[in-house]
């Protein structure tokens, strides 16, 4: 190729890129004036972006979040969390726990109907529980209900479960079980009820309309919904597997709502063309990222060593660098939105001088070249993390650089998720790992921190053992009294934070953006989705009129 041709080709490319990059957003639509109030109105439609196609729309068989995002609009359960994360009745009008905590009785609301018009009764609840416990049903959640010794329908609207021993998470487990319609599923093999699993019939605020695989799921407001007809007439979940394309679709008004990445939130998402059209929200999520140590390895057994590592890491810098400041420093096994979060526990300070002193106190020496050594050998370890999570890869790199400053060599290995789990985590073949937990709302962390949960496939893979934490975790799950549980879990938070089996790094913020024509959104500790049925588009601003 001649030079002349090369220059022409380059110019053409550069021109194209600049042309595309400098453009301004075209479609600006009329949005309600934020300083005015508008009365709610029925109608219009909201289009949400989702990365993955739901697997199956029967909540008992699904174990992916894309499916549960959809089914949570179609199905209802006995209880749900309100905006302040308190358990309140959904299908249940009231519930009662026996004094010894082994019997729970739910009174159901009367007049609740399935989408096909049949009444929803306690028999449906009993039927659903039976499916979860049925050994032939391919559900991942059987163990949530295995402590139940007996269940009974007392009358059409009263349901009771018995436990062999008091079990506090029982209320959440029972309460969040999506109820399935007995009249459609009785006597059938639920694994293969294709007519139901892909065209579900529920009792929730939205009815199923259609599902184009890998494309979209469309739901329609249920006018008979027992908590009131939702204002937004339709909900569409659009499957857009690429995050960059999702953001383009949002800017192009092909989507009304998506979760932004920190980059999108602070970058293009803060340009006036964007904020004129979209409201951005920011609230703390219920997940955190941590560096976990394999406490079975000699190097990590000494608590002073772990403390010194924690002191060497600048957590604030991680929040700034990885999350663009959109998050907070984690202090322990609970996140700030949980009632179990102990506010008195402060994050480990960033103090590399103190870290060096601690290393020396623990028997480590600094060599002439500045490397930390033990018995003449330089200290080094491997930090594992999973592929495909850019935040974690960036975090690992920053940790590597910060620990280098105190003389520790960290090698990073990034491994595909399934290999990471099966070959390294489950087999305990790691020094340290960088991972995250996404927590349930009940603070029972028995499966993660109790010393009996160290077996293969179990979640105490760092092999943490503290007799007091063990005792408290057992007491926490057998106590129903809220105040007492608060005290127990605050202590758990404090103890684990002090023991440092993990270095707790950061809690990212959730960053949804919603089109400005949609009003009624009120951010609360529970996020923004809790009052979805009250979201509305005022008269005159409807985009999809049919």
């Amino acid at each position: 190729m001649s030079n002349y041709m090369r220059v022409v080709a380059m110019l053409a490319l550069v021109g194209f890129v600049t042309l595309s990059g400098c453009g301004r957003m075209r479609s600006q639509t009329q949005v309600p004036d934020p300083s005015r109030t508008y009365p709610p109105a029925y109608g219009d439609m909201i289009v949400e972006g989702t990365i993955a196609d739901p697997a199956i729309l029967n909540p008992i068989l699904a174990s992916d979040s894309a499916s549960s995002d959809v089914t949570s609009q179609i199905f209802t359960s006995l209880l749900r969390y309100d905006k302040d994360l308190n358990l309140v009745g959904e299908l249940a009008e009231s519930w009662e726990i026996s004094p010894e905590g082994t019997v729970i009785t739910f009174k159901l609301k009367k007049g609740v109907k399935w989408h096909d018009g049949k009444p929803l009764t306690a028999h449906d609840v009993k039927f659903t529980l039976g499916r979860y416990l049925d050994p032939t049903v391919k559900t991942a959640y059987r163990s949530n209900f295995e402590k139940i010794s007996k269940s009974a329908v007392l009358d059409d609207h009263t349901f009771r479960v018995w436990y062999a021993e008091p079990f506090a998470p029982a209320l959440v487990n029972m309460g969040s079980m999506p109820i399935l319609p007995r009249h459609l599923l009785k006597g059938r093999d639920i694994n293969t009820t294709d007519d139901f699993n892909y065209r579900p019939v529920g009792s929730g605020p939205y009815k199923f309309i259609s599902w184009q695989r890998a494309e979209s799921v469309i739901l329609q407001a249920n006018p008979e919904y027992f908590e009131g007809r939702p204002y937004l007439n339709r909900v569409v979940f659009r499957v857009i597997p690429d995050m960059a394309v999702q953001f383009l679709e949002l800017q192009n008004h092909g989507l009304d709502m998506m979760g932004l990445t920190p980059n999108q939130y602070t970058g293009e998402g803060s340009e006036p063309e964007f904020t004129d059209q979209f409201n951005k929200y920011k609230y703390t999520s219920n997940q955190y990222t941590y560096m976990g140590f394999n406490l079975k390895k000699a190097i990590f057994r000494d608590k002073r060593f772990r403390q010194a590592i924690a002191l060497s890491l600048d957590k604030e810098a991680l929040v700034k660098g990885v999350l663009e400041g959109l998050g907070s420093v984690a202090t322990g096994p609970y996140t700030p939105s949980s009632w179990a979060y102990n506010e008195d526990v402060k994050p480990v300070a960033f103090d590399q001088l103190k870290a060096r002193e601690l290393f020396v106190a623990a028997g480590y020496r600094y060599a002439k070249d500045g490397r930390l050594t033990k018995n003449g050998k330089p200290v080094e370890f491997t930090l594992l993390t999973n592929q495909g999570n850019r935040n974690r890869e960036q975090t690992a790199t920053i940790i590597q650089a910060q620990l280098k400053e105190v003389g520790i060599k960290v090698k990073i290995r990034v491994i595909a998720w399934s290999t990471f789990l099966s070959e390294f985590v489950n087999k305990r073949k790691f020094d340290a790992l960088l991972l995250g937990w996404s927590l349930a709302r009940d603070p029972d962390l028995y499966s993660i921190w109790h010393s009996s949960r160290m077996g293969e496939h179990e979640f105490n893979f760092v092999s943490y053992k503290n007799a007091e934490v063990d005792r408290l975790l057992v007491r926490g799950r057998t106590t129903f009294n809220h105040e007492r549980r608060v005290r127990i879990y605050h202590r758990v938070h404090e103890l684990i934070a002090a023991d440092l089996p993990y270095v707790f790094l950061f809690v990212p913020d959730s960053l949804p953006a919603v089109h400005r024509r949609i009003l009624g959104i009120e951010p609360a500790p529970a996020g923004i989705g809790y009052n979805f049925i009250k979201w509305y588009v005022p008269e005159g601003f409807h985009k999809y009129t049919k």
């Binding site: 080709a9 075209r26 992916d64 059987r142």
Partner: protein, 322 residues
Amino acid sequence: MIRYILRRLVISLPILFGITIITFGVIHLTPGGFTSVHMDMNPNVSPDSIAKLQELYGLDQPLPVQYVKWVSRLIRLDFGRSFLDQSPVIHKIGQRLPATLLLSGLSMLFIFMLAIPVGVYSAMHHNSRQDRVITVLTFVGYSVPTFWLALLCMLLFGVVLGWLPISGIRSVNHDFLGPMGQFWDYVSHLILPVFISAFGGLASISRYTRSNMLEVVRQDYIRTARAKGLPRSRVYYVHALKNALLPIITIIGLALPGLIGGSFIFETIFSWPGMGRLAYESALSFDYPTIMGIAVIGAVLVLLGNILADVLYASVDPRIRL
């Protein structure tokens, strides 16, 4: 001819069998597994539940037993049910196939319609400036990553100019459009993906055509035709092209599996509900029955495509006999 085809089909059977054994072995030897990907690291799922699920899916049995069971179902043309959503594999493939066929069929059509004239033109103006411009353009198309070009075009034609939709196969309000509106809805969603995938595929066919043409025009019969006084374009387009296109038949035969295979990257960028994404997603989630189903269909098409190419070749080229 029929005997030849039959013989080739019979020989293909053990090959197909071998392909399934290798595929089955490879996907089961990959570290991890169905339950590991979906349920490990979910504190709400206990190890007992996982063990129970393994048993229900038959994953606790020895590999040879699992394979024999799978083959015995396959012989009855039963591809089994997907682990991921419990639906029959054949159903899943059926849902995804039309979108991929539509996209790859159209783009293949465009590639042939454009690349052959372009190739002939290049050959006629061999080594001229036009030839070089074409060479550069087709190679740019070949080497530019499609996902990058796709994102730029989405930005330009979607967000900036607003002429075309960005992704997907139809709009969310498609059902409410009239028949003409629905048709235009499909067309407008097809323009970007078809154009971009055709741009990427232009290079190979046009280069093939060009080099075949250059070879053919050196033959004696072309000189004869020119000597008769036929116009240059008639010599090229009628006499030379026919023979220059022979190797293209092989390419068509080999393209058959690609026609239904789809491209993962492409379909992901355009949110296209096709086979490429299905294959990739099922591989990532260790959905063994779906992976095997797609592999079998792919293998069958490769084998058939080869036979088809040979047969076609023999029927148009009298120098080759089967």
